[in-house]
Every structure is written in C-alpha cells, then in structure tokens.
Amino acid sequence: MSRTVLAALLLLTLPHAALAQGETPPSAPAQQDPAAAYDELVKAFNKAVSDWQTAAQAAVEKAQAEGGRMPAIAMQPPTKEFIGRAQELAAEHAGKDAAVPFLGFILKYASNERAAVKKAISTLAADHAASKAIGDVLPFAGNAMRFGAREQVAALLDAVADGHPDADTKAQGLIARGGMRLQTARTDEQRKAAEADLRAVATTTKNEEILAQAKDALFEIENLQVGCKSPEIEGVDTDGVPFKLSDYRGKVVLLDFWGFW
C-alpha cells in the first residue's frame, strides 16, 4: 500500500466523523442556548468531515481502479469554516463557562488554524483555568503543542493540576500534564516529573474512570522504559504459528515494529 493511500485511509477513520446525519447549516442564529449551539456545531462539522471522507475515498478508489496516479485530494478535513464559527461562539460567551466547549472544539479539531489555536489555549489559561467545565477539554490541550503554544499549554495545565478546586478536575489536570511531560521528556528528571504527576492522581481522586486513565498512562513508565523487563508478547507469526517473545530468552532481540506499506 502506498503511503499516500495509507495517509488517506488514516484520515478516513477520524473519530466522531462517521455517524453524522442530517443537514444542519453551520451557522446558527445568535443568542441560542450555548449547549444547543455546540451540538449543532459538532453535528455540522461531522457531516462535513464525513462528506469529505467519502469524496476522498471515492477518489482514491477510482485512481486505484484506473491504475493511475493518486489524485490531488485535500489531505486535511474542512475545518476552517467551523473553527471560525467556534471562535465566534466562544467570543459570544467570553469569560463564562459556556465558552469553554467552543475553545475546546478549536483545540480538538484545528488542522492548520495556528492563530486560532494559540488564542484558544491562551484564553483557556487566562480565563477558565478554574472553570468546572475545563476537565473535558484538557485531553486536547496537548494538541496545541504542535502549533507552537507550548508555554500556554504548560500555563493551563499547571493552573489546573496545581490549583483547581475540584478534586476530579485537578486529577484530570495531573493526567494531562503528566502525559505532556512524558511525551516531551528528554531527561530522567523530566520523566520523574511526569511519573510524579501520574502517581499523584491516586491520592487526588477516587473517580474510577480517572484512576484507570492514570494507570494506563503509567504502564509506559513502568514497563517500556530502558531498564524495564519487557512486557510479554503472545501472538501469531506470519505463517500462523503461535509464539511468544519470551521464547527467545537467552538471545539478544532486536524488536522491530515495522511494515512495508
């Protein structure tokens, strides 16, 4: 499979995009209930992404069937219009909890709207770090890193992880910050800081879902670092024969996650 096709197929599996139904205009009348406006925005966006995926897939299939070159399809979902709309709605509810989901939408779905992402993460850090609505958008805060907003992301996560009044939200802040720290860690000290965040979750909340998330994030630290005993792999080889990684104890193993594509 060529890389182009793979990239297209990966995009075809974008989350939340497959189930959109019905026609909804992307713009809604002003002064609408913010929750309803948010639902409408997401629904319209999902529909647009779904249409784009269908078109992209059809173009790839056609090119494959004809054995021709890959078509010059748009490799990014149609986000611009919707990011703009989310900005408008966030501005409409500026300073209030109702703005948070719209700012979160921008972090979650922006493809190349750099300025909008920077503004959204800055606004969240400045105005909403103590909001009870902030927990839901924390998992997407890290997305802003690739738009060059590292400081703003750190400011928001520090504020939530260190100072949010609600224990569950604080714990979510610790998970988000630990994850970001782990992802960017270059030294043992930084890795320890990431680990400390994730371990602190257990003494911060009793919410089982949040505890499970922290445990999942700790798996990497506890099992996949240099010096760790490697996790067992029990699987099947390409001839269909079952085998285990530990069958090769006594030998040096170069474990290679690979593909031809």
Binding site: E222, S230, K251, L255
Partner: protein, 122 residues
C-alpha cells in the same frame, strides 16, 4: 532499514541474536498476507514477525508505538536496554555489547538455575 537488518542477521547468524518483527501490514487478512509474502521474498526478510493486528489489543498499542519503524533492543533476559537507536553504527555497537553479555551469561559457571527476573523499572 531492511538491508542493514539483513546484514546483521547474516553477520551474527552464529550468535545469540535474533530480529523479531511486529508487522503491521494487515497480515491478519489473506490479502495483507499475500502482499507481505511477496514483499518479504523480494526484500530478503527472513526473520520472524508477529502479526500486529492478530492480537487484541494490537501489540503496537500495548507497546505504545507512535510511529513506524520503532525499535526496542532487548537483552538476553528480556530487559529493554535501548530504544530507537537509529544510526546503523550505533545500533551495531550497542547490539554487539549485548551479545557479548549474552554469551558471557551463557558460559557463566554454576549460574543459578533460574535467576530472579529483574523488577520492572524504578
């Protein structure tokens, strides 16, 4: 990647060393498998690979693989010694040292029958 790996397999064929792949070409399907076999033959891939998609969750998911290829260097006790060395010369140097250690451990006189497995990282 593959030519270098092929050369390592050849170079250390009499040593305690293997390459094990975790292949993500969709080898859980007939179509993926067919393509895999053609390509493996063409490129001289002789080493064994797990089918990534053949396990739930996928092996690459459990191992938190973010991009391909990803390499882990495991010693004779299954301990991760390096991750993601990319430079051919550095890889070889690291593996050589690990092979020496594996041979030494195999020859060690009166080694305890079952050494205690090392505890996961601290």
């Amino acid at each position: 990647m593959i030519p270098h790996e092929r050369s390592l397999v050849e170079k250390w064929k009499d040593k305690p060393f293997v390459i094990l792949g975790v292949n993500s070409d969709g080898t859980d399907t007939e179509e993926g498998l067919k393509k895999f076999r053609e390509m493996a033959k063409e490129d001289g891939v002789t080493w064994r690979s797990f089918r990534d998609e053949g396990s739930t969750p996928r092996i690459s998911e459990t191992w938190r693989v973010q991009g391909w290829p990803t390499l882990y260097f495991l010693d004779h006790e299954g301990v991760i010694r390096h991750k993601d060395l990319r430079d051919d010369a550095e890889m070889e140097k690291a593996l050589e040292a690990m092979i020496v250690a594996a041979e030494a451990a195999a020859k060690a006189p009166k080694a305890p029958a079952k050494p205690e497995p090392q505890k996961a990282g601290k």
